[in-house]
Amino acid sequence: MKYVSPRQVIFPGDPVATSDESVEGAVYIDEGKYRASSIGLVEFRDNKIVVVPLEGSYRPKPGDVVIGYVTDVLASGWEVDVRAPLAAWLPVNEATAKYIDLEKTSLTSLLNVGDAVIAAVKDVDLTDEFPVMLTLREGERLGKIESGLVVELSPVKVPRVIGKKGTMITTISELGCDVIVGQNGRIWAKCPGPEAELALLQVIEKIDRESHVAGLTDRVRALIERYKGGGSARP
């Protein structure tokens, strides 16, 4: 039995369905009932109920592309802030394929505190001192960020930036920006000009704020059309 309807906003503890239903997302089971474990939006996807969280933090998992800032340089690698509740580590051998003689070269010549990197999560191991291991070598377009800008939004809204089957990111690409979306809610973009940058910032802010209101892709498209029409993106 279902207790919810599509596109309903629900709160922690709200009953979603009895445990014989198929339910996914931000839920838990208590005494034979699925209940929401977070503020969320209900979606029905082919006979499945999905509770999409509307608030929450980033939880790293292997394979994620993330954007981080170097916070410390240590003897054989860098500590990186990836907005996770666990410490993240980028070792030298995962940063470059070249041989680095640690006695002769300073690691700061490669990356220094404050530098931004696009990295992939190689492994999450809670027994390590730094549980999140990063790599710049296992994936395309990873490495130090040299230009462009980094925008932040809530990590739980990242799937909305990409959209179902990539619809949203295709719409956004009409701005002419080169975009890489980090799973930790940081987005790198390099745009043809400041107007496109501004429009992109507005699009991302819109997705962050309005993702629970139906018709998001259409509103984003309207914003982009306005930008392309030469007018200010601000209504």
Binding site: G13, S38, G56, S57, P85, H212
Partner: protein, 245 residues
């Protein structure tokens, strides 16, 4: 026994004009502190608590982290200007340290701490104005701030106090009733699950009065929970209305 400056209960009316089973005016807003991951402000009459949640984030110092779950830290603090007569010394008192622990233990059963090993969740509660029932107002504010931060939780925890005044069980004690009443019972209640996470009691209560008090607390908590839901909804519905324009 101290004598109250005004009678606490006259012909079924309390000193502030309320019926015994009536809450004070409850005002709740969510997302009041933009620096925090989640926040809420809760007022029960003249008692106002502001809660801010940070995390889950890395645990420092690392040796205090736990291998299998997150550490929750709660700080309850009364602002120096929160009290009526004398300025409250801003240094955390014995009482505030104890209430911090009590609040933590009332929140922990509602939160999936095991989903965030080696991390910490910080909850700060500041009493901006104190007029009785501060710990339960803090509990409501803290659980709403946790929900606003998106920390996975089983249910909200709603705090309400009940007390004994002239032998009558009353809901939501104010400062006067707190000081001169015969009994005081703060309750933390998870309204969806129907479970109690906090129950303290002082004063001399008969078994019947206690049972009556628990029932009244649940009734009060359900009323406050209604207000809490409205406050959470408001955050999303305001955006929806703005978009519709």
């Amino acid at each position: 026994m101290k004598q109250p400056p005004v009678p606490l209960l006259v012909e079924g009316r309390r000193a502030d004009g309320r019926a015994p089973d009536q809450m004070r005016d409850v005002r709740i807003s969510v997302g009041v502190i933009s620096n925090a991951d989640g926040s809420a402000m809760v007022s029960y009459g003249n008692t106002t608590a502001v809660a801010a949640v940070y995390g889950p984030r890395e645990m420092h110092p690392r040796h205090l982290s736990l291998p299998d779950k997150a550490v929750m830290r709660v700080r309850y603090h009364m602002a120096p200007f929160s009290t009526k007569d004398e300025r409250k010394n801003p240094a955390p008192s014995r009482r505030e340290i104890e209430i911090s622990k009590v609040l933590r233990e009332a929140l922990e059963p509602a939160i999936f701490l095991e989903q965030f090993p080696r991390s910490r969740i910080d909850v700060f509660v500041e009493i901006v104005q104190a007029d009785g029932s501060t710990r339960v107002a803090s509990l409501t504010a803290a659980s709403l701030a946790l929900a606003d931060a998106g920390v996975p939780m089983r249910d909200l925890v709603i705090g309400v106090s009940v007390g004994l005044v002239n032998g009558v069980v009353v809901l939501d004690l104010n400062g006067l009733e707190d000081n001169y009443g015969e009994g005081d019972m703060p309750v933390g209640y998870m309204p969806n699950l129907g479970r109690i996470t906090l129950l303290q009691l002082d004063g001399a209560w008969s078994r019947d009065r206690f049972a009556e008090a628990v029932k009244l607390a649940v009734k009060g908590a359900e009323y406050v929970y209604g207000k809490a839901r409205e406050a959470l909804k408001a955050k999303y519905f305001e955006i929806a209305e703005e978009v519709a324009k």
